[in-house]
């Protein structure tokens, strides 16, 4: 153990003098996380309801106690920028248009009389062809909730004064619940929940650049050859080499998480809440770090030169990141690609973090994904041990 720690200390000393490597490991994921959180805000969160213009076309008066006024008041609570007009202006760039039937009061009364929420087929919603499906579903949900709210309020006013005192909560406050189930029960991460783990993992796998540098440098310099005549074993050397990079990986994630917890919320107004199992976070991070360092070790054992290792390493990490859902979330991929995703260790790491941050699962529930990471790491280490070369020509 003492010999391993001597090698660990030595490697850390060399690594901390390599400013370029440190910049790559910390600044690259940091910049990606910050910029992509901003850039992808509308991808991971529907922009509908954030002062999005909603054109309401009606020929009825939309003031006072009219059904139109009640409905539009309800819709305002979802933060639409409402434009109530008799007909759409010719050159408008409307994305959302709600066409209310004439005499909507009668439609509402019919619904109320039925004492149930029938499909509101007489109200027409027109969408911009480019508007995504989740946003369309969201608008429909807002409309249904608004109608539902109106009906309940009317029911409440009719019951007022009667012996039955029913307390009915304004359903519009459940709008958040509807937002979360916009895609048929699939919970969508907010940009911070997605980008922090995704790009941290990406940066962690780039540990292969300094790790392969270290391994290939020692092989090229003849240091490995010299160390073979020392009273140390191959495993002393391999562990001494990968532990420092494992530590750097954990530090990388800690820094990115701190940015996600303390800086990004101030810049974006979004949250990466702390309501998760910290033991699970540690387990996922350690497993991901081991996977990343094992992959670096594997590449270093096959590559002949640093140039080869860098070119193949960077290319392979980008490919693993693409299929692993880092660059394009796996839930938007077609079925076949979602199956291919499972080949990437970044997929298991990212899904484990999303299980924790978004789905709020426990360590026990996340363990299968951690086992996949550990399995990948073990296989990579065993192949590396078999392929390990002490000298350039051995």
């Amino acid at each position: 153990m003492k010999k391993i720690m001597i090698i660990v200390g030595h490697e850390l000393k060399i690594l901390f003098t390599d400013r370029q490597a440190l910049a790559l490991l910390f600044l690259m994921p940091l910049a990606l996380i910050i910029f992509l959180t901003f850039a992808l805000q509308d991808v991971y969160q529907s922009k509908v309801g954030k002062n999005t213009d909603l054109w309401v076309i009606t020929t009825d008066p939309c003031t006072g106690p009219s059904s139109c006024a009640q409905l539009t008041n309800k819709l305002k609570k979802f933060n639409y920028g409402l434009h109530i007009v008799a007909e759409l202006p010719e050159k408008s760039e409307a994305e959302l248009v709600l066409v209310l039937p004439s005499n909507i009061d009668k439609t509402i009364q019919k619904l109320q009389a039925a004492k149930s929420l029938l499909p509101v087929d007489q109200i027409q919603i027109l969408f911009d062809p480019l508007l995504d499906q989740s946003s369309r579903t969201l608008v429909e949900s807002h409309l249904l909730l608004s109608l539902q709210g109106m009906l309940i309020e009317r029911l409440r006013s009719e019951l007022k004064g009667s012996a039955l005192n029913v307390k009915i909560t304004d359903v519009s406050q459940f709008s958040g619940l509807v937002t979360k189930s916009a895609l048929g029960g699939v919970v969508l991460p907010n940009p911070i929940q997605q980008t922090v783990p995704a790009w941290s993992l990406f940066g962690m796998f780039f540990i292969l650049i300094p790790l392969t540098n270290s391994m290939i440098r020692d092989r090229r310099l003849g240091v490995f050859k010299r160390l073979l005549s020392f009273p140390i074993t191959k495993w002393h050397l391999i562990l001494g080499k990968i532990i420092p990079f494992f530590i750097i990986n954990v530090l990388q994630f800690a820094v990115m998480l701190a940015v996600g917890l303390f800086i990004l919320p101030k810049l974006t107004g979004l949250q990466l809440d702390l309501n998760f199992d910290w033991w699970a976070l540690a387990a996922i991070t350690f497993a991901s770090a081991w996977a990343a360092t094992s992959y670096g070790l594997l590449v270093s054992c096959f590559a002949e030169t640093s140039e080869q290792a860098h070119a193949f390493g960077a290319f392979s990490v980008v490919i693993l990141a693409i299929i692993g859902g880092v660059m394009i979330p796996s839930y938007v991929m077609p079925d076949l690609m979602q199956k291919v995703s499972a080949l990437s260790p970044l997929y298991w790491g990212l899904e484990a973090y999303l299980d924790l941050f978004v789905r709020k699962l426990s360590l026990m529930a996340i363990l299968p994904r951690i086992y996949w990471l550990l399995g990948f790491s073990l296989v990579a280490c065993l192949i590396s041990s078999w392929r390990f070369r002490w000298t350039e020509n051995s």
Binding site: I6, K13, I14, L221, K225, R226, S229, P231
Partner: protein, 242 residues
């Protein structure tokens, strides 16, 4: 124990190769000898050194009747590694670290006390450059330091693989003097080289390898006589390149 190295019928073959790197090799080196190992490129010098230093794992492709190094069987390599010093042909040092940092790192791995670091710095004559980065040293200084690392554990057996390649005559002479000092202290030295004049100047025992076979071994004077070393070498090996 008369011999520092006593090897009989060593056969060594690398994985994936259909040719033996060492064939029926017999080698006995008495303690305190200065043994010059000669042979053209590809003769098997590096393979022999790798075997002695433990850089080749013993397996079905490595066979021998006897292989004792410092009195221990080759299988018990752990027991003699602490008494072994090895200076590879490459400058196996970290160029971004200082002389002191390099020596300290290797000394700690060898479990040598820190006082040995100070001794070696003095021995290689780099006292005034101990805080210089290795990349800032001259070729001769790097060679001296490369040799110095192999002495941190005060070895009984020192194996040197072409330790004077590419250095100036001054540094070469410095290294020669220091190596003869070690011989006088009783250290056994194995010195692999392409320079015949170095063998003439330093070695009392010599072995010539060719195609993985030891074609000549014994006192230098017996093998080479006092005449033209190069001519005798060419007669032995039949090759023009030393």
């Amino acid at each position: 124990m008369k011999y520092a190295i006593d090897i009989q019928a060593l056969e060594l073959q690398y994985a994936g190769s259909n040719r033996k790197a060492l064939t029926n090799l017999n080698l006995q080196i008495a303690r305190g000898s200065f043994f010059g190992l000669l042979g053209p490129n590809g003769a098997g010098k590096t393979s022999l050194i790798s075997f002695l230093c433990g850089q080749i794992e013993t397996n079905s492709r490595t066979q021998y009747q006897k292989a004792e190094i410092l009195g221990y069987d080759r299988q018990q390599i752990k027991n003699y590694k602490s008494k072994l010093g090895y200076a590879p042909q490459e400058i196996a040092l970290y160029p971004t670290l200082t002389v002191l940092e390099n020596l300290t790192y290797f000394a700690r791995l060898m479990q040598a006390p820190f006082i040995e670091v100070a001794r070696v710095i003095d021995w290689v004559g780099l006292g005034d450059r101990k805080n210089s980065k290795v990349s800032e040293l001259s070729g001769g200084m790097k060679r001296r330091l490369n040799l110095g690392v192999a002495l941190l554990n005060r070895p009984e057996l020192l194996i040197l693989d072409e330790p004077t390649v590419g250095i100036d005559p001054e540094s070469r002479n410095f290294i020669f003097e220091k190596l003869l000092e070690l011989k006088n202290e009783g250290v056994t030295l194995i010195y692999s080289t392409h320079y015949l004049e170095e063998v003439k100047k330093l070695c009392d025992q010599t072995g010539v390898l060719l195609g993985g076979r030891m074609i000549a071994i014994g006192p230098r004077a017996e093998i080479f006589g006092e005449g033209d070393l190069e001519k005798r070498y060419l007669e032995l090996t039949g090759v023009e390149t030393v």
